[in-house]
């Protein structure tokens, strides 16, 4: 029996069932990491640099240490000089000889109350001597100021090409782009810029750490990647992984901002020094100066077309601003190239992605990382080309999009290609035939594609004698209802109801491994592992029944919570009870992995993610009005047509789309961490502007279901794509409404007024 043998009957999988954790969250019973406390717990706080780049002349903690209620103060001097990181191991726990950005951790304190901890921070004497700094990513490429003069000493993935502030360079090359450009009817060249965007989770990063009598540490934390956090902690603490236990109580949103270690290491180090549990909870200010926002980017994009608007080639360069540490920057420089290529037949490609250090906050992977930046450029430019050639923007896209069996940018074969259906459905729903319905009102469209991140998943599924099942997974529920989706897959396969499934919390000591709640993969990958476990359990159930009836398992069926053979039936519950008598109970280990598709290595250089797993396709369309005098944008309607492969639970897929589009609208119109001379000017939620319910219209969702071969019942990843298109779709709609073409995010009212004014002059 294999997983493919299961077919969705629509009984559980595919149904709009209420999420399993919904009621607890609504009535306030659900325990989030920020709610978690232990008896005797101390409060930890982190001292952060108030200068963007400076030499540390002196750190004197003696006054702070002497304060009543202060239990420990630690700095870089107190711990081994471990550097951690993903592709590049460049990040120390505390600033070493220099602070590298405004917000860089210098010391940490644990005290009996939060107030005392805060006072202790103020009592730490730090003398900093300003150093010249580099903030602009383009300048950083040619600048003599090195963010890391010792960059050559870092341990890095061998695939990376680096040089000074450039911490990665990758390329995608197809055909002879130069020749294609030389013969083009027209060539378009533009520069686009995007801003730093905070992931905007409601719960700040929070961790409680406690050491047991045997020198093992447990950390309760709201991480999206408990196993990655466990590994990083083991490196920082210099302990075998088995002595580091990570438990995830609950997460108030992550969106990629809680992938990598955040405050766990501070809590663990402070707890070790004090022999008391310690909690560290980020403040809003710390979130905005020292969390991992979405990288900002500068995109130069050149496109060659023929007379009919057929694409002949794209040349371009995207510069991803990593901030002071590389983080996911090298990977994003890579992934952004697939987004720049877009779901198009480009003819030829010569794209380059560069990740660069600056003296700013270390940025990271926020939902569809690299997606919106690159899509803003490519989809804005598609409209510019359409306008110039006098071709309808939808038509221009339809002439160039990829189709079933086409090759992707790395030469991989594209399957279940649905971009045409998405474009046509989004356009029809927004009323594309009437694209400029009134002065100041216009419609815009954008399309894209995105991967379903791979990585392996393991689950244990245990069937109890009442016939219900418990799903033990190492994947955390970050609020997407992905584990409700995986449970629907499991219930479907075991002929159970969703109410019959329970999900155990994640504990690295007892949960099987999972690559983590990231990359639109949780429901997909855990769902597949559930199918594998269900196949195993079904076989176990058949064998138990066969033994009971003294027959073979041939022709047995699992239906309506029972095993059926001809006219004989026996309940799953009864078999689970029997299994306890002799077999130690019913349990199965299911695993899933999705290796990437075959690709042509000749088309990529130093690329960290050369070919995408199970890509999905999508289009979004906006109808908005612009006040020509104030520049204010009001979105009238917003439509999303997204290929989800198979909608395991349409309600929560729509929830993902609504949330993702809202974040995209924020990135498009209002959100930006603003730096001036290296300092963050809006490190509070008064001036960091996420959209409100009044700024986001009802999001109209069209779920396209073009089944994948790899996902459970044909599903594709759904969580990330919705936030890719809004900047481009809205920019195109603004251009349709006003004639003003916006080249930088966020497209504030002020920028729109300026653009309109310069267009008039």
């Amino acid at each position: 029996m294999n997983a493919e043998a299961f077919r969705a009957t629509g009984r559980v999988a595919g149904k709009r069932l209420p999420r399993m954790d919904g009621i607890g969250k609504v009535i306030g019973k659900h325990v989030y990491a920020a709610d978690f406390t232990l008896p005797g717990m101390l409060y930890g706080r982190v001292l952060r640099s108030n200068k963007p780049h400076a030499r540390i002349v002196k750190i004197d903690t003696s006054r702070a240490k002497a304060m009543p209620g202060v239990r420990t103060v630690i700095t870089a001097a107190d711990i081994p000089a471990v550097r951690y990181g993903q592709a590049v191991r460049d990040a120390p726990v505390f600033a070493l000889d220099r602070v590298l950005f405004y917000g860089h951790a210098i010391a940490a304190v644990a005290a009996t109350t939060l107030e005392i901890a805060e006072q202790a921070l103020a009592a730490i004497d730090v003398e900093l001597e300003d150093l010249p700094a580099v903030y602009d990513p383009e300048e950083a490429l040619t600048n003599a100021i090195l963010v890391h003069p010792d960059w050559q000493d870092f341990k890095v993935l061998p695939i990376l090409v680096r040089d000074g502030n450039m911490t990665a360079r990758t390329r995608m090359i197809t055909g002879d782009a130069d020749a294609a450009f030389a013969n083009a009817y027209r060539v378009y060249e533009h520069r686009f810029k995007t801003a730093l965007q905070h992931p905007g989770y409601t719960e700040p990063r929070a961790s409680v750490a406690d050491w047991d009598a045997n020198g093992n540490v447990t950390v309760w934390t709201n991480t999206q990647l408990p196993f990655d956090t466990q590994t990083t902690l083991s490196e920082i603490l210099d302990l075998p992984v088995s002595r580091v236990r990570v438990i995830v109580p609950g997460i108030g949103g992550g969106f990629g901002g809680k992938l990598r270690i955040g405050v766990e290491h501070y809590a663990a180090l402070l707890a070790r020094n004090t022999a008391r549990p310690v909690r560290v909870l980020s403040t809003s200010e710390e979130e905005l100066i020292a969390a991992t926002p979405r990288q900002s980017a500068v995109v130069h994009l050149k496109t060659a077309v023929d007379r009919d608007g057929k694409l002949l080639g794209r040349q371009g360069r995207i510069i991803v601003d990593c901030g002071a540490f590389a983080g996911s920057g090298p990977a994003m420089a890579s992934v952004s190239l697939q987004v720049l290529a877009g779901p198009y037949r480009n003819g030829t490609l010569a794209l380059e992605g560069i990740a660069v250090y600056t003296n700013k906050v270390p940025a990271g992977s926020f939902r569809a990382p690299a997606g919106p930046m690159a899509n803003f450029a490519v989809e804005s430019q598609m409209d510019i080309i359409a306008e110039d050639l006098g071709i309808d923007p939808l038509e221009l896209r339809l002439r160039n999009i990829v189709h079933e069996g086409d090759k992707g940018p790395s030469g991989e074969e594209l399957k279940s290609v649905s971009v045409e259906e998405c474009l046509r459905k989004a356009a029809a729903a927004i009323g594309w035939h009437d694209r400029k319905p009134a002065p100041g009102r216009g419609k815009g469209i954008a399309c894209s594609w995105w991967m379903t991140t791979g990585g392996s998943s393991g689950v244990y599924v245990k069937i109890d004698p009442d016939g219900t099942a418990t799903l033990v997974s190492g994947a955390v529920e970050i609020g997407t209802a992905a584990l409700t989706g995986a449970s629907q897959v499991l219930a479907e396969a075991l002929s159970l109801d969703l109410d019959d499934i329970k999900v155990a919390g994640v504990d690295t000591q007892t949960s099987p491994y999972d690559y983590g709640a990231q990359g639109s993969r949780t429901a997909f990958s855990v769902g597949n592992a559930c199918l594998a476990a269900a196949a195993d359990l079904r076989q176990q159930l058949f064998e138990l029944a066969a033994k009971q009836w003294n027959i073979t398992t041939d022709g047995m069926e699992l239906r309506d919570k029972q095993v059926i053979a001809g006219n004989k039936t026996i309940a799953i519950a009864e078999l689970a009870r029997l299994s306890r008598l002799s077999g130690g109970g019913l349990i199965a280990h299911g695993t899933a992995n999705s290796p990437g598709p075959a690709f042509d290595p000749g088309r990529v250089e130093n690329h960290m993610l050369p070919a995408w797993n199970t890509p999905s396709f999508h289009a979004q369309a906006a109808d908005l009005s612009v006040d020509s005098e104030t520049g204010a944008v009001s979105i009238n309607r917003y439509v999303v047509a997204q290929d989800v492969g198979f909608a395991i639970n349409p309600t929560y897929i729509e929830g993902q789309i609504e949330g993702g589009v809202s974040q995209g609208i924020g990135q498009a119109l209002s959100e930006e961490i603003v730096y001036q001379n290296g300092r963050v000017m809006n490190a509070n939620l008064t001036d960091y502007k996420m959209p409100t319910a009044m700024d986001v219209p009802e999001i109209e969702c069209i779920l396209v279901q073009s089944a994948s071969a790899a996902g459970p019942f044909g599903a594709k990843g759904v969580g990330e794509p919705p936030c890719i298109h809004p900047p481009a779709a809205l920019a195109n709609a603004i251009a349709a409404a006003t004639g003003a073409r916006m080249h930088s995010l966020p497209m504030t009212a002020e920028k729109i007024v300026k653009e309109l004014r310069s267009a008039r002059e």
């Binding site: 005098e629 104030t630 119109l669 209002s670 000017m681 502007k689 409100t692 700024d695 007024v753």
Partner: protein
């Protein structure tokens, strides 16, 4: 960040407490300004005197012989929905309904908006455009002062030690009058004004000529101001686009905005002229429609 919380039963008790505790004490009404300031370390009171339940401040919206009196604790939410404010005094619900979000408007008081004296306070320009008078209670008794004179600068008012703002009064508008309030910010709720404008316009019986205008502008100077030159210029001018545009320009000339993370000074200047013109145009349409 710790303080003693006092909960006096009467105004007299509150004022007595404030007198005894001196500058270390602050009154708290809705707390939507004060608590934020305490959290950000910008206010460090040792004593907080809760006045949010005092009956004398709670009388809400009362129609009097010569206008309206609003208790200092009046919540924006009540103003938004008040039937007496849906016509000529429309600027009141318009200003009230764009303060924060519904949760804020259910708890925040108009008195707090005035005493906090933020240059970007939304309700202050609305009241300025109505020539509001303040009733202030102190140890020595009750006094009145015009709102226009009362606010001195960012966070500064003429409130004397221990005094409580008790009520806000304003007179009804003459015939052929209407009002409007407009606000611009980066988003449509939970927003601090980049510019806000309140206007009250009175036309002659024909509806063709401006008799009087009162225009208040917020967020573009250390304190909200009345656009005196624009007001003076409008009297006697035809009620048309050219006049309103002129008023917008004059109002903008009086602005002294700063550039900050919310907007540039240039953009704020521009918005003042746009919003003043628009607010006046809205008033004119409202008078015509009435």
């Amino acid at each position: 960040m710790s303080f003693d919380l006092h909960r006096p039963n009467t105004m007299a008790e509150a004022i007595g407490l404030a007198a005894r505790l001196g500058p270390a004490a602050r009154y708290i009404a809705g707390g939507t300004d004060l608590v934020v300031q305490i959290n950000r370390g910008r206010a460090t009171p040792q004593h907080v005197i809760d006045i949010s339940h005092l009956a004398d401040l709670r009388h809400d919206i009362v129609q009097t012989a010569d206008g309206f009196s609003l208790g200092a604790l009046t919540r924006y939410r009540n103003i938004e929905r008040h039937p007496a404010f849906q016509d000529a005094l429309k600027l009141l619900p318009e200003a009230a309904s764009v303060v924060g979000g519904v949760q804020v408007r259910n708890i925040a008081s108009i008195g707090g908006n005035i005493i906090n004296a933020s240059p970007a306070a939304d309700f202050v320009p609305a009241l300025l455009a109505l020539d509001a008078e303040l009733d202030i209670q102190g140890a020595a008794g009750r006094r009145s002062e015009s709102l226009r004179d009362f606010i001195l600068g960012p966070g500064k008012t003429g409130l004397q030690a221990g005094e409580i703002l008790a009520a806000v009064r304003f007179k009804p508008l003459p015939a052929h009058s209407a009002t409007a309030f407009l606000k611009e910010g980066r988003r449509k709720a939970m927003e601090i004004s980049v510019v806000c404008v309140a206007a009250s316009l009175t036309l002659d019986a024909s509806g063709k000529t401006c008799l009087a205008a009162r225009i208040a502008v917020g967020a573009v100077a250390p304190k909200a101001y009345r656009a005196a030159a624009a007001e003076a210029a409008l009297a006697g001018l035809p009620a048309d686009t050219a006049s309103f545009r002129l008023a917008g320009q004059l109002a903008a000339e009086q602005a002294a905005p700063i550039s900050d993370v919310r907007a540039s000074a240039e953009h704020r200047h521009h918005l003042v002229s746009v919003l003043v013109q628009r607010a006046l145009e809205t008033c004119r349409q409202r008078i015509a429609g009435a």
